[in-house]
Symmetry: C2
Subunit: 365 residues, 2 copies
């Protein structure tokens, strides 16, 4: 452990052990606690700090508000060949989503592909964790989820969609896999939170005020404003970002019978869940496809290497900023953090210390 004025660095092992102990303290069995912790720590490892242990306090608060069932009876409620629906029984999304993905992977072994919609779940962490589970078998994996409404459709000033991420994970031979894991809003909520903490303006096109006016002030979001879809405005294709967010909402929410649109239950426990909900909990959509159903796996992996090489060598605008391939920066970040540990900002350490004290647990901070 090393500390500085602003952050403390913890090894992945110590952070995992602590996180497991928290999940066990709120009632998860050993296996589920390990799985949930793994999802969070992998986010931190990959540098997606907004979705790692920084959220642990949020999950615990949802548990304390009886919004999460830590001993869920996760059930396959419907299936037809390669497709199926899972009811997560209000479990942690961190546990429900990997279990759904495991079934999608098994179905892929049988049918060449497997796709599952999930209802009655909660926030599932980074989409990449679930999609990347498919990579072990050289399958293509995908995962998406709907989320608390924050984004207004084109022409609207009402929060109707979450930042509804889409992730695809595609294996390569000699290179890190291609991992696209993107919010369908112009900017992820985490980026606004960082700007707000630092009292900095954000670019126009990230959010609007509650009246639908442009703003650079990240605080306008909490004041009833809304995020903008990818594309930011109609001229620049915000109807496409809105459409992608809508697609995620339909596949994750409408298809399995989870809540959707403005009815998706909020992640923050202090906001109320609406009455007369049309579905159960929030929803995910996960899947996998067997590369070998399309071509010899090795031949495909070699073509992926060629694709990656060609894109990495695309002519840059500025020689000092090479073209990036999705997933590569996070791959190297994970290797670095495995060696050097995970830096946690003081605010996160303070939250986690408080949590440890509340549940009378040892902690490494």
């Amino acid at each position: 452990m090393t500390t500085s004025a602003n952050y403390t660095t913890i090894t992945a092992d110590d952070l995992t052990q602590f996180t497991v102990s928290i999940f066990k303290a709120i009632g998860c069995n050993e296996a589920d606690a390990k799985l949930a912790a793994d999802v969070l720590i992998k986010a931190d490892m990959r540098g997606i700090d907004s979705h790692g242990v920084a959220r642990l306090v949020g999950y615990v608060r949802l548990y304390e508000n009886q919004r999460i069932n830590t001993q869920p009876n996760i059930k396959l409620v419907r299936e037809k060949g390669s497709v199926f629906t899972i009811d997560g029984d209000s479990g942690l999304g961190l546990v429900v989503a990997p279990k759904a993905m495991q079934i999608a992977i098994e179905k892929t072994g049988l049918h060449g592909a497997g796709f599952g919609a999930v209802r009655n779940s909660n926030h599932f962490g980074i989409a990449a964790y679930h999609a990347m589970m498919a990579l072990e078998k050289n399958y293509i994996g995908m995962a998406m989820t709907n989320a608390s409404p924050l984004v207004a459709p084109t022409y609207s000033k009402e929060r109707m969609l979450g930042t509804n991420p889409i992730c695809y994970a595609i294996p390569a031979k000699s290179y890190p896999p291609f991992i696209l894991d993107m919010a369908t809003s112009a900017a992820a909520n985490g980026k606004l939170e960082i700007a707000e903490r630092q009292n900095k303006p954000v670019p126009e096109g990230w959010l609007e005020t509650k009246n639908g006016a442009p703003t650079n002030d990240p605080k306008d979001l909490k004041d009833g404003g809304h995020l903008l879809p990818l594309g930011s405005d109609k001229d620049h294709g915000s109807h496409k970002g809105y459409g992608l967010g809508a697609l995620v909402d339909i596949l994750s929410g409408v298809l399995p019978g989870a809540n959707f649109g403005p009815w998706v239950p909020p992640f923050v426990a202090f906001l109320p869940v609406l009455d007369n909900l049309p579905g159960k909990g929030l929803g995910h959509f996960v899947g996998a496809m067997d590369v070998s159903g399309f071509d010899e796996t090795d031949v495909f992996l070699e073509r992926m290497d060629l694709w990656i090489e060609r894109f990495k060598s695309a002519t840059p605008v500025n020689e000092n900023q090479k073209v990036l391939v999705h997933g590569e920066p996070e791959y190297w970040m994970a290797i670095s953090r495995q060696l050097k540990g995970i830096p946690l900002i003081d605010k996160v350490c303070a939250d986690l210390t408080q949590l440890a004290e509340k549940y009378k647990l040892d902690h490494p901070f």
Copy 2:
């Protein structure tokens, strides 16, 4: 037929009959000619004028340059349960893609889902035509294709990706289906062509000059410039648009062994095809999923109606511009054009008349 100074209005039936005669003249059998014509006319009906009969001259030119085989032997070259690869034998994408989609629909009947990658094909028209084929059975349909390189990745000034569209078609009960059909660039190439014809500037964020500098001049594209991915710049998420375009390129190109990235053969016949191609023709990726594998079909369709109603009634910024749901404007346009005919601008009529004379065919212009 009605004519004005700028356009001539033709009935869908007359335009179909003419288009069929052209496709037969270049060697298509009756069934293929009808299918290819249907794909083009449906685009015109839905108001996607850039992808309708306006492109007929382009397809013929590709045929005349021996880039299109009008009597292809379209083959299923690999399959595993619900997934498969098709070789289009250099056929018209307008014929190859619907045949691949038909197989995906058959596989969906057997396995709950079906996904096919297609190589050795050509431009397939509007993605929505293929995805919407699934709606007849209340399946969810999807289609994507790679295309001539025009878009530069984030941090690059090199044309590496096409406008690579993604389409999803999702059935509803009382409302028109949800149809998301979007280019993954900030603006479709067709919009630039219109601005160029009208000598009008375009918004910043649509394209850059060949040196990677911002520009409002649509002519800079032909001068070696490039389109920008959805998001337009890094601050507004262009890495997401780049990632979506890359995903389409990988699933459509790399997976089946078609060309990909900068190697995708250009649609315009006057640009050369590169040497040492890594694959065959261009590629598509199509698929379907059976809603009844996830829930009772009727229950899902009712939930879709609720989703659509709720989004249509989202609070607008401006009372005069209601919130739209994807696919609805095109649905009403098709009904209107079925009644009133399809208006073709003079330039398109002149091109088609010339084509008719060349092939000694009757024409309705």
